[in-house]
């Protein structure tokens, strides 16, 4: 049984049908075609599939698609502003905060949720914001540094 569902994805209006009980991850990847969202465990434990729903980080693999009706969803595919990378993306590149890259989309979205509500996070704030995201390559330190770098960049621009 498919039900109609509407939401905004990276600012664009989406109208589609979702299998009853389908999770947001499958709807984004398989139905809408946003492949920037990755699945890692399909049980809500690794954070790889993190997207923002109305600005809050959500593990999309255990988020009911129907519960997102009318909401605004952000993924890494919408992070870039035209040719310009988001400061987080630039900082991740400069800090070598990705190796295999598979956890990176989820990391970036969890970090964006943090910076959107707290532009001057402490190291502890960053660790807390990323604690639900598993990375098996980097050992986390370059990621934490990248988020702090991006936050400092925000400071410079607003000053």
């Amino acid at each position: 049984m498919k039900t109609p569902i509407q939401f905004h994805l990276n600012g664009e209006e989406i109208a589609t049908f979702a299998e009853s009980g389908a999770n947001l991850l499958d709807v984004l990847r398989e139905t809408v075609g946003d492949l920037s969202v990755k699945g890692g465990c399909w049980q809500g434990t690794c954070g790889t599939c993190t997207v923002l729903v109305d600005g809050a980080p959500r593990v999309s693999c255990v988020t009911l698609a129907e519960s997102c009706a009318g909401k605004s969803i952000e993924t890494v595919a919408g992070l870039r502003r035209g040719a310009d990378l988001h400061p987080l993306q630039r900082a991740f590149m400069e800090r070598f905060a990705a190796q295999c890259g598979y956890c990176t989309p989820g990391m970036l979205m969890a970090a964006k949720a943090l910076l959107d509500r707290n532009p001057n996070p402490t190291r502890a704030d960053v660790v807390d914001a990323l604690c639900g995201n598993v990375c098996r390559c980097t050992g986390y330190e370059p990621i934490i540094q990248a988020v702090l770098d991006a936050a400092r960049g925000n400071d410079r621009r607003s000053a």
Binding site: S36, G40, T48, A77, R136
Partner: protein, 538 residues
């Protein structure tokens, strides 16, 4: 500034290496931060089918019967794949290099030998439909006793795990049940040693847990060819293995990979591609076989659990005179890569130290656990953990600084190793010196001056000294008091030169027999390697 050894391959290499010390961006980084890197599952196909696998719930059982009639009638099911459908069901990964016998079925037909072993596949229009159908399959088992401990598996009357290797040991060169290393006479040396220390080290299996699970998509192409998108770490290894299992020519398969969502050794086993290709052949449609996280943990091979016994004889002056290692690699139910891990382990014994008497016996053992495979230095890492724990204990036993103890015993260029090859391009001493410096770990002057160069501690001491610290510069850390008389030269039998025994050293000279004399200077290491292992590289 460190001095780099540029004499190696000097005639084959431009001496214009300028990358060290400068950041160089990864070529795939932009894709990673924009979510556009093409992992295998980021390819889309119309009418994609999904393969799900029925797995054994038992560690060891005989399959009495399988009833999949209800599953075959379930909605969305396109095809059931049984053991008889697999063209070459029995395989072992290293058969590609003629190492070991085929021992592992793609789908079990008579006996299951570990929990999670694949029995039957269902191809359906969705993962959910495949899982619903799997729940309808009825398998009747006779449970068999299982063995989970490597030493239990060696006892007389132990459960026989692997039908190809009924004695629970891998067979090397068609006749040996383990790998041996013999050098000098350890028993005699233990008698002469001032301290003998023996200990047991037990590792656990370690799961690679890549954030992207193992998986692949096989897509029928024209002319009987298949395009395979895969997470594999070893593209051509997987291609050849898939060709063998499907009785196809390699040129019928086009593998596309290279973007791997974490591997660490856990994606070399070709666990999904052969059945994905078979399913695509049997249905004529693209088929995806993707591990769930649970499958990745239960069925995806881990690093094997090793049990290692180390017995060392050491003199009060700090010289290790004997090392005996007995190790058991838990291969799980099938070989995969553990046979090779054992070879690597033996090649690494006794660690990077010059020890005149070495004795090792290392076994590749079959148990009813998940088959083990490669993981970051497998065969060596666990051994190193055991040996370096042991080194710390030995240092305490003889009252030496643990780092100086390692420097004292480290390989020097030209030392005869237990494998009867000369040590070359050694650098442990220099690494230890730099590490000590960075960590503000006090090393006494004579240890700061030692060198891995031939003649090492005495004749070439000035080389290391010149590059590291100006002569006469005050030491950053005052020398420690010497608790016991210590030997500060690393002497070894040198028939042409008079012995340079430090005055305070006790007289253990008689203990170890002289190691075999060095081969002629022209003998190249690689050539000697072939005489020991039968082939140059594995």
């Amino acid at each position: 500034m460190l001095e780099f050894r540029k004499d190696i391959f000097a005639d084959e290499r431009d001496d214009n290496l300028i990358e060290i010390g400068q950041p160089t961006q990864r070529q795939d980084m932009l894709g990673h931060v924009t979510g556009t890197s093409p992992y295998y599952d980021d390819h889309r196909f119309a009418n994609l089918l999904h393969l799900k696998i029925l797995r054994s719930p038992h560690a060891h059982a005989r399959i009495r019967s399988i009833d999949d009639s209800a599953a075959a009638r379930a909605p969305g099911v396109k095809r059931i794949i049984r053991a008889a459908d697999v063209p070459v069901n029995l395989n072992t990964l290293l058969s590609l290099i003629q190492f070991g016998k085929d021992d592992e079925p793609s789908l079990a037909s008579d006996v299951v030998r570990y929990k999670g072993e694949p029995i039957l596949g269902i191809v359906a229009t969705s993962e959910r439909a495949a899982l619903e159908a799997l729940a309808l399959v009825r398998v009747s088992y006779d449970q068999l006793p299982a063995v989970f401990d490597v030493e239990e598996a060696l006892k007389p009357g132990a459960v026989s795990v692997n039908a190809t290797y009924p004695k629970n040991t891998f067979e090397y060169y068609g006749k040996y049940d383990h790998q041996k290393l013999r050098f000098g006479d350890v028993e005699n040396a233990f008698k002469q040693a001032d301290v003998v220390l023996e200990d047991r080290y037990q590792m656990s299996p370690i799961e690679h847990a890549p954030t992207e699970t193992n998986g692949s998509i096989a897509v029928p192409d024209t002319n009987g060819r298949f395009i395979v998108y895969t997470s594999t770490q070893a593209l051509f290894f997987s291609l050849d293995t898939s060709a063998k299992i499907n009785a196809m020519q390699s040129n019928q398969l086009h593998f596309i990979g290279g973007t791997v969502g974490g591997g660490f050794g856990g994606k070399v086993d070709t666990m999904t591609e052969p059945l994905a290709i078979l399913a695509a052949r049997l249905t004529g449609a693209p088929v995806r076989y993707r591990f769930s996280r649970h499958e990745e943990m239960q069925f995806g091979s881990p690093r094997g659990a090793e049990r290692i016994y180390v017995k060392d004889g050491v003199m009060k002056d700090g010289r290790i005179v004997a090392r005996q290692v007995r190790a058991y690699f838990d291969s799980g139910a099938y070989t995969r890569l553990s046979s090779y891990a054992v070879v690597k382990c033996v090649a690494h014994i006794p660690g990077p130290y010059t020890i005149p008497n070495v004795n090792a016996d290392v076994f590749c053992i079959f148990t009813n656990r998940t088959p083990a495979t490669a993981m970051r230095g497998f065969g060596v890492t666990a051994l190193d953990f055991a040996l370096e724990c042991q080194m710390d204990k030995l240092a305490v036993a003889v009252g030496m600084d643990p780092l100086e103890f390692r420097i004292l015993n480290a390989y020097r260029d030209g030392d005869m190793k237990a494998h009867r090859r000369l040590a070359k391009n050694c650098a442990l001493i220099e690494c230890a010196q730099v590490a000590a410096e960075r960590a503000n770990w006090p090393l006494r002057d004579e240890f700061r001056r030692m060198s891995s160069r031939e003649g090492g501690s005495v004749a070439r001491a000035g080389v290391a000294d010149r590059t590291r610290a100006p002569a006469g510069a005050p030491a950053t850390v005052p020398p420690q008091p010497q608790p016991v008389p210590q030997r500060v030269t690393y002497e070894r039998p040198a028939p042409t030169a008079p012995a340079r025994t430090a005055p305070a050293a006790p007289p253990p000279r008689s203990a170890p027999p002289a190691p075999p004399s060095a081969p002629a200077g022209s003998t190249h290491g690689a050539a000697r390697f072939s005489s020991v292992f039968g082939t140059r590289r594995r």
